[in-house]
Symmetry: C2
Subunit: 420 residues, 2 copies
């Protein structure tokens, strides 16, 4: 099961060393072989894909016909969009989400929709972890992470509100990149929390997500070198005791590797303002979810899962005062984080408390991701390490708000150091 | 033509001194009498409204059955939503926008949809100014401002991306309130620019918008008194020469009145960082519009007005670098504005360059509004003054980000002072 390398394949497409048809057939063959077991896709139209591969004019585009998949929380005009809910079964949005439009404009070929949990929240989906089918792929971007891990597609779009990009990427052993808040437009998706929902990307390696993000946004986010030794902050937080022994071992191994590669390691204890911000993520998320899903909660309550219904019931009791105070705490946290990035170029921390959970009762915990979603800064799951059970164990690099190219470049440095 | 006072009517409803049926009939009678000339409404279902007035359970709610209207850029499940474009003629969204849900939850009775310009941009609509039918009501919330001015509805929802709440409010002689960015959720509307689009409210007086905003958000935004004399900054900007002589006279009259009422007047020259921010509003708006309307521009270009088509054509040439730089300039501006609000409690400036333009070639200029939309701070059009042509001439109060109750209370102070 080899992952497809988005950048290499796109360059081969641009140079005529392969064709959109051949790349698409590789994807479709992998899907035919593995997706009955993995369950990453919820909508697929091979005939339409083949017609696009034959008839598409990809001349001069960055992606040159490269196939991609889209989490089914994001609208597509040519494929149904169900948001992981029976309420929207067969729903056909009128328009592509702008981020899908950006991928198409860059010469991407929309291959299919990937499974999301119900409204991108916590209820586990049918998707299985392609690294071990008895284990969870994580959520809520379950299908996007699994599809990339299983070599079914070179890159995929996902979203993160708590930890829905970095966590499944860690569990499935792929690179997950949550860009700075609103670098990718978050329109045309089913909103859960407007201050948190963030579009993200999955691909094989850091260079592949950087390549895809450059193509979509028209910005140069390619990996660059460093004049001086970068300073990597090794973060200590109140949640570290919840990470498994092998998660600690993996993070320590990453630190040793990156130090050996020439970076300076700086121990950092998470400031109390940021611990406070971490604690209010749920207040912001849930207050907004109660508004964003108000129509479903009011008119279609019986069609929601029991867990989501109970969660929204509790959420609707959050007072505006509690929410406003949580927003102020978040703002203070962003200010303190800005100061912290005067001392370090990036932070390194856990992607998840451990490897993928066995079974399908839970998609795992976003406890190491939610603060960074609230801060809006770029985060990347770096893959290459392994837990005691032999499953992938990612580490998470946190970059400075708006400095996505630097964050990706530092993540590539860590990735390279781990691989040595 | 008397405006309906939202707060008084709601209190009468709560106390049983009138009924939802009677209030609704008053609205429907005003619409029947005037809307053939004014053209404020684009969707109206009197039978459904009457059924709701009869059958609705408004017990214990803040609005107690008070009718309201919704700008047709905002989704409603019970009435069609066309976004001012033939592309969406007859479109029926699946869900109410959360802000509509908030109004319904507060006991509001949805009366109808009010005319918006095409996708809330500049193309004039069919609506006429109820103060003088030969004149523009302003845009893009043309119908909401006109409906309140003509006494057809006690309050209405609108949106502002440049000056689409404050400007039509000024032209039509009603109170227009643009709250702090995201105080009212901006989901379920047709996005033009996600960093700028802001939900707003129209009603007769400041106390009425404050009342409606309190009901919708569950926050106490009611008018409060001042312990010490408030400091009102009289703003001088690079655009002041574009305001008419009677606009200058109205603003000076407002300053004298508020000073006589006990406030301290502080002359303020707009800092250069804020002049710079003003200048980049269009870059942010248009770069985002090219993405937000990408689907329409790609697939339905012929159905867009010539003006919007040309605008989006030009917008799609804005580089990501120019946009990113504009965003940085905006951020710097917000920082400087925060400092400025250490010296004053509010700023007072023009709502528009003058009274409503004659004819229907243009909806007027947002030149005095766009900076504040970009800054995200609360602004209120205060009515009560008149231009040389006898039409309403509003003045604009600008409050501190997140301090909406203080901004509304200061606006009420100015309104009261003008009326003396």
């Amino acid at each position: 099961m080899t992952m497809l390398k988005a950048r290499e394949i796109a360059l081969a497409l641009r140079e005529g060393r392969t064709t959109p048809h051949d790349v698409l057939e590789t994807c479709l063959a992998a899907i035919a072989e593995r997706d009955a077991n993995v369950g990453a896709f919820c909508a697929l139209d091979p005939a339409a894909g083949r017609a696009k591969a034959r008839g598409g004019d990809f001349g001069g585009t960055a992606l040159a016909g490269l196939p991609f998949a889209v989490k089914d929380i994001i609208d597509t005009r040519d494929l149904p969009t169900a948001y992981g809910s029976p309420l929207f079964a067969g729903y056909r949005p009128r328009a592509d989400a702008p981020v899908v439009g950006q991928a198409l404009r860059a010469g991407g070929l929309l291959l299919g929709k990937t499974v999301t949990t119900e409204f991108a929240f916590l209820k586990p989906s049918q998707t299985r972890n392609p690294r071990r089918l008895t284990h969870s792929p994580g959520g809520s971007s379950s299908g996007s992470a699994a599809a990339v891990a299983a070599g079914m597609v070179p890159f995929a779009l996902g979203t993160q509100t708590g930890g829905s990009v970095v966590r499944p990427a860690s569990y499935c052993g792929v690179t997950g990149y949550k860009p700075t808040y609103r670098l990718l437009p978050a329109l045309g998706m089913k909103t859960f929390s407007w201050h948190l929902d963030t579009m993200g990307l999955f691909a094989a390696r850091v260079t592949d997500v950087a390549f895809a993000a450059s193509a979509l946004t028209g910005r140069d986010l390619s990996i660059e070198g460093f004049g001086t030794a970068p300073r990597i902050g090794m973060l200590a937080t109140a949640r570290d005791a919840s990470a498994s022994a092998d998660a600690h071992a993996a993070l320590a191994a990453a630190a040793r590797a990156v130090e050996a590669a020439g970076a300076r390691i700086v121990p950092i204890t998470l400031p109390e303002e940021l611990e406070a911000a971490d604690a209010v993520h749920g207040t912001i998320q849930d207050f907004e979810a109660a508004l964003a899903l108000m129509d479903e909660f009011t008119h279609h309550r019986a069609a929601l899962s029991e867990g989501l219904r109970a969660h929204l019931e509790a959420a609707s009791a959050i007072t505006p005062e509690a929410y406003d105070e949580a927003r102020r705490i978040g703002k203070r946290g962003r200010h303190v984080l800005g100061t912290l990035f005067g001392e370090v170029d990036a932070l390194l921390t856990f992607s998840a408390p451990g490897t993928a959970p066995e079974g399908f009762a839970s998609t795992g915990s976003p406890m190491f991701n939610r603060l960074w979603t609230l801060m809006g800064c770029p985060t990347i799951n770096i893959t290459g390490l392994t837990g005691a059970d032999g499953l992938p164990m990612g580490v998470q690099l946190v970059g400075r708000f708006g400095r996505d190219r630097a964050a990706l470049s530092l993540a590539a440095l860590v990735e390279g150091a781990i691989a040595v």
